[in-house]
């Protein structure tokens, strides 16, 4: 089993590396966008999937990363790579005091508190026009070559998966899940809940920040509406839940499934886009609230059980 997943992982990696040499710019762009979504989804998964703190505001780090990159390039003439990295660092730095304040809130208070925070950042971005260009936005030099962006985004997905894998196998991950299951009990059992939550929050902020920086460089244009796209927040939450929140593969599977679905079906029914998304959310919640990964796992287990049973039956 281990061997199979290693081999399939290597194959996937080769395909990902090979795509820019084989596919059209359009397909490369499609995969780039998908990787951006998946990266944001992994960030959300860390705080909301593992810790259970439903956030409607991870897109604030996305916007922070986007603006940091844009301002670094536009005002200081840095390279975009440096701008993107600076954005990630800033996001983690900001996440510390923000998380300290916000993570005291629970349930809808936290969810909507984060949503309110996005609105405040949006306001700052539109009001501080001498730095951000305000509602008019900033124009960046056009990106001639998509490939470095593509590989950066692909690397981020791998990194995010790796980080999630490492978290899940660590004691840290167990503590997060303990908080999700019952924060009071976790606290009583000696988990330093505040510190653990804060660490998860800071870690989770870096991924959307990098994604935002890459996205802004690709768009060559940034304004408050494209830096804090509310529908991206929703898309990534949906991807994670669809794939399986609090799992290693969930955001990736959900991201691929919904991106492909979006491209194939929704592009053709643009006027029904929200209706289809909304219905999908409702159906997923009603019929597969745990997402694809547990479903797949159960199916595999059942089949293996059957094989085991039939093998046992033959033996007898």
């Amino acid at each position: 089993m281990k061997k199979i997943s290693l081999v399939s992982g290597a194959v996937c990696l080769l395909v990902v590396i090979g795509i820019p040499f084989l596919a059209s710019d359009y397909l490369v762009g499609f995969f780039f966008n998908m990787f951006i979504f998946v990266t944001v989804a992994y960030g959300w998964n860390l705080i909301s999937g593992y810790t259970g703190y439903l956030s409607f505001g991870q897109i604030s780090f996305f916007g922070l990363g986007a603006y940091t990159m844009a301002i670094a390039v536009f005002r200081f003439h840095w390279s975009w790579q440096l701008g993107v990295l600076t954005g990630a660092v800033l996001a983690v730095v900001l996440a510390a005091p923000l998380g300290w304040l916000m993570l005291r809130l629970r349930g809808p208070y936290f969810a909507l508190g984060m949503l309110g925070f996005v609105q405040v950042l949006y306001m700052v971005a539109s009001a501080a026009s001498s730095v951000t260009g305000g509602g008019e936005g900033l124009y960046l030099p056009p990106t001639a070559d998509l490939h470095p962006l593509y590989y950066s985004a692909a690397a981020m997905v791998v990194l995010a998966m790796g980080a999630t894998w490492a978290v899940e196998r660590s004691a840290f991950g167990l503590r997060l899940q303990a908080i999700r299951e019952d924060e009071l009990a976790a606290d009583a059992m000696g988990v330093e809940t505040t510190r653990v939550k804060l660490a998860a929050f800071m870690l989770s902020s870096a991924f959307p920040a990098v994604a935002g920086g890459l996205y802004a460089w690709r768009l060559s244009y940034i304004d408050p509406a494209s830096a804090f796209p509310g529908n991206y927040e929703i898309q990534t939450i949906l991807m994670t839940i669809f794939g399986g929140a609090g799992t290693i593969m969930g955001p990736l599977l959900g991201g691929i499934a919904l991106s492909v679905m979006g491209e194939v079906i929704w592009a053709r029914f643009a006027e029904l886009h929200l209706l289809l998304t909304g219905s999908l959310i409702i159906l997923v919640l009603l019929f597969m609230p745990e997402g694809m990964v547990p479903l797949v796992r159960r199916t595999v287990a059942r089949r293996r059980g059957r094989i085991a049973r039939s093998a046992a039956g033959e033996g007898a």
């Binding site: 710019d25 359009y26 306001m123 304004d223 494209s226 643009a270 006027e271």
Partner: protein, 392 residues
């Protein structure tokens, strides 16, 4: 039964092969664009799309382009810049369109202009009034809309003629309206006007009462709302509610749309920029309006005319080049000077529109009347606007 199906299949495949080779000879020229069919620009963008569709239809009746039929390929960009970028990428690399034309709005155009530049595809942007898009040293992008600086020239001319001195301006905080405010601020000394108030408000704001209370205290001769339709309506309506008077009210976009009349009597006396009017004596305009009404069962607005005109220019450029060589087409557009339904097309060295002019209309007794410039005027401007308290 099975055999019959098999025969049918063979026949069908054979037919397709024959038909395919026949069609291959007259492979159409594909013109790609994205349209905001949904999202906040949908209403105006629809007019633009119809302008494109009408032109392509007529072009094919005339025998197409370079002896080939022409086909318009378009997708919905949801009024979203990032989606626009994806779609132009798809049009150019997956659909392999031969020519492209611009989307709706300065915002989406500014984002997709980089795609056009990257792939070295000539693109006229018929709905991008913000000239800043063309100040980035691009070689393949051309402005097909009147530049933002010209929208309020008519109102300023009236100010000068009537001796109005003080001006208060409100602008939505986005590319196009801000550009209008900046350009007006540059132009006012020429007209003997001083700006006493100049502030922007964020996109989506609905309550202008705080801003208008400030304006009221300053008691300006003129108030300009550099906004799109919903805000233009809101600002004028709230001026009335708060008793904010001025001798001249003008809005950048909005008064040109029939929906502005929903304000009822409040709409009267308000001036609005329009870049085109159905009665203008531009080349082929009457024919354009007539065929448009026949095809779409409604009157065109200025977006329809601008998009139509951009394809007129593109056709002329391709014809003069005689091929689909993008470098040559771009060079040809840069040199093109021609009379379109939208006016005289001419771009400067950066690709900024230098030809298209602007006109001014006023709402009089519930109707739009073009009042400036004299060449196209349907009536005289009614000034000064009476105070709200004296109106019913």
């Amino acid at each position: 039964m099975v055999r019959n199906i098999r025969i049918l299949l063979v026949a069908a495949v054979g037919f397709l092969m024959v038909a395919g080779s026949a069609f291959a000879e007259v492979k159409p020229i594909l013109i790609g664009t994205s349209v905001s069919l949904s999202g906040s620009y949908a209403a105006s963008a629809k007019y633009g799309l119809e302008g494109y569709q009408l032109f392509v239809e007529q072009l094919n009746k005339r025998g197409g382009l370079l002896g080939r039929p022409v086909k318009l390929v378009y997708y919905d960009d949801r009024s979203d810049a990032n989606t626009g970028v994806q779609l132009y990428e798809k049009l150019i690399t997956a659909d392999k369109v031969d020519l492209i034309v611009g989307p709706y709005s300065s915002g989406v155009t500014s984002a997709v202009s980089t795609v056009a530049e990257k792939h070295k595809m000539a693109m006229i942007g018929p709905e991008a009034a913000d000239a800043k898009i063309y100040m980035r040293g691009y070689k393949y992008n051309f402005q097909g809309q009147t530049q933002a600086g010209r929208y309020m020239l008519g109102a300023l001319a009236l100010a000068k003629a009537n001796g109005y001195k003080t001006l208060a301006m409100l602008a939505e905080d986005t590319a196009f309206p801000k550009a209008v405010s900046e350009e007006v601020a540059k132009a006012v000394p020429e007209y003997g006007v001083t700006i006493v108030f100049n502030q922007s408000y964020p996109k989506g704001a609905a309550d202008f009462s705080a801003l208008l209370t400030k304006v009221k205290q300053l008691n300006p001769d003129m108030i300009f709302a550099n906004s799109y339709l919903p805000d233009a309506q809101g600002i004028i309506r709230q001026c009335r509610e708060l008793g904010v008077n001025a001798k001249l009210f003008a809005v950048a976009v909005g008064a040109a749309e029939p929906e502005f009349g929903n304000l009822g009597s409040t709409a009267n006396y308000v001036f609005g920029a329009t870049q085109w009017a159905a009665n203008m004596k531009t080349k082929g305009n009457a024919e354009f309006v007539k065929t448009y009404m026949e095809m779409f069962k409604r009157a065109p607005d200025y977006h329809s005319a601008a998009n139509y005109a951009s394809l007129q220019v593109l056709e002329a450029a391709v014809k003069s080049v005689g091929s689909l060589d993008q470098d040559k087409i771009a060079a040809a557009i840069a040199k093109t000077e021609m009379d379109t339904v939208y006016g005289h097309f001419k771009v400067d060295a950066r690709g900024i529109q230098a030809g298209f002019a602007s006109a001014l209309l006023q709402w009089q007794q519930g109707k739009q009347v073009v009042v400036w410039p004299d060449a196209v005027a349907q009536g005289k401007p009614i000034l000064p606007t009476p105070p709200w308290s004296a109106r019913k």
